[in-house]
């Protein structure tokens, strides 16, 4: 993977390497549109984003991105089947109240989906629980138990078993850890559920 801008987040680069140029992409919980903007410039995608916060939505539109203000769980309902080539849920799964329902909708409206999330069974998290006795806090999950928006904590293994139970295919997967900052990372192949801080999955409807 080679990108002109080295300031791009490591996970964005992985996603970009999976997305076919010129495809139609929907990003759920797109924030200020950094990923979409990157995919638009780098992969020439036709982008749509959904974001609930007005200030972030307006930042996106000011950048020239097509973004809708709304709740991702409600907004996905309106789209016809197979409306997008990819539906992306980047670092947001941990905040979704009904992940099963949302993933089903994603698989309905997109040919493929991409899901990324922080791995809650990274060894440092395991150690924090063992040694400190407090609910763990990390760079990706920095909140206290009483103010966290992250209500669905999962591991890489959890997601794989979720795929089996729900019945969707994992087409590609990558586990990695960040080095010094977001823009620099390393793919983890050895015992990823212990050594990777994040997982990214490309998923699709089960082939019958």
């Amino acid at each position: 993977m080679k990108f002109e801008n080295s300031k791009i987040r490591f996970d964005f680069k992985i996603i970009a390497s999976w997305v076919k140029p010129g495809s139609k992409v929907l990003a759920l919980g797109c924030g200020e549109g950094d990923l979409l903007y990157f995919l638009k410039k780098n992969n020439n995608v036709q982008e749509t984003g959904i974001e609930i916060k007005e200030s972030r939505v307006s930042k996106c539109i000011e950048k020239g991105l097509s973004v809708l203000q709304g709740d991702i769980n409600e907004e996905v309902v309106d789209y016809p089947d197979n409306c997008f080539d990819y539906v992306i849920l980047s670092q947001t799964m941990q905040q979704v109240y009904t992940p099963f329902k949302l993933v089903m909708s994603m698989l309905r409206i997109g040919a493929k989906s991409i899901v990324s999330f922080p791995n809650f069974c990274h060894w440092q998290i395991r150690m924090q629980i063992m040694l400190s006795g407090y609910v763990p806090k990390t760079k990706e999950l920095p909140y206290e138990w009483y103010d966290t928006p992250n209500i669905r904590l999962l591991s890489i293994k959890d997601f794989r078993s979720f795929a089996k139970k729900v019945g969707f295919d994992i087409l590609k997967q990558e586990a990695f850890k960040y080095n010094r900052d977001d823009t620099d990372g390393k793919i983890v192949r050895f015992m990823p559920n212990i050594f990777a801080t994040n997982g990214i999955f490309l998923i699709g409807r089960k082939k019958l």
Binding site: Q46, E54, S66, L68, D78, Y79, C83
Partner: protein, 386 residues
Amino acid sequence: MSEYIEHDGNGVSVGLVEKKYFIFADPPDEMMLESKIQFGPVQIAYETYGRLNEDKDNAVLVLHALTADAHAAGYHNENDAKPGWWEFMIGPGKGIDTKKYFVICSNILGSCMGSTGPSSINPKTKKAYGFDFPVVTIGDMVCAQKMLIDHLGIKRLHSLIGGSVGGMQVLEWCVRYPEMVASAIPLATTTRHSALAIAFNEVARQAIIADPNWNSGNYYSGKKPDLGLAVARMIGHITYLSDESMRVKFGRKLQDKSDFSFNFDADFQVESYLRHQGAKFVERFDANSFLYITRAADYFDLEKQHGKGSIVKAFSKTRAKFLVVSFTSDWLYPTYMSKNIVKALKKNKIDVSFCEIEAKWGHDAFLIPNRRLANLLKGFLESVEK
């Protein structure tokens, strides 16, 4: 709406502008109205700002609301006390950048600000039309605008932008002439009036009709129904504000007095304000035009006319890229109405952006200087491909 207009804070303006006129539908080639009445001639007043490029693909048509006019930006002469009604939005480097776009704003059919309406002279009788003027619709207004755009030699509009009744025209354009519209920005609008909106319009119309000077619409040679029109404006004005904006602006403050007068003078500031708005309005607007345009707005029903009752079907022909904007405190055309538009566009796989801007000023928020709105328009307009 003119009460919000201010000179641009940074002195940036399109400068001196000129009102122009386009006349068409001369008999026997009259315009066929939706009511199946042949009507003509029709005069449309319009203004333009910026330059039309060689390819004629940088035109932005601005559609005005109920009582505004073609004078959207700049000044008619150096001593004008106020600029056009969207001065903060239209100009060099502004939300609608006149360095990039050729901006057109025309006065709607049925109005009294230079386009043909009930106060215009009927060439057959040499008298004002009055109530002989046919009932016109939003579709008729858009047809007349299309004639103007054809006359200017423009095949495809880079964008259409309008708030409120102007937003209805934006939507009508998109379904009526889909091949002519590259992008559209309906602001604070709806595909059809709610019963609440029709109700307020009806009360306003009845205020005019109840004025003895109205005389079944024949008042152009005598006294005008100023009282009725002023009350109509007061009612309308309330619906353009919000509980919060009125609380902040007026509260229960008294006007130039420390206690109640124990009579029916304007004790409260809000009373005095509304009376002032009403009185000012009658100087510039015609009562019959108010009746006709509110009627057109009430009749507007995009799903009924273009989708056999289905809003999704109504948008099935449009291919424009959309930016839909609503305002949190707008209770005349609340956000759910904009969301209905967005939903229907999504179902048609149309590229649509939507933002509900936090604003306490009610329905009129799109007329009040708002950096967020200006930035949204700017970013969106630049993202539209030719």
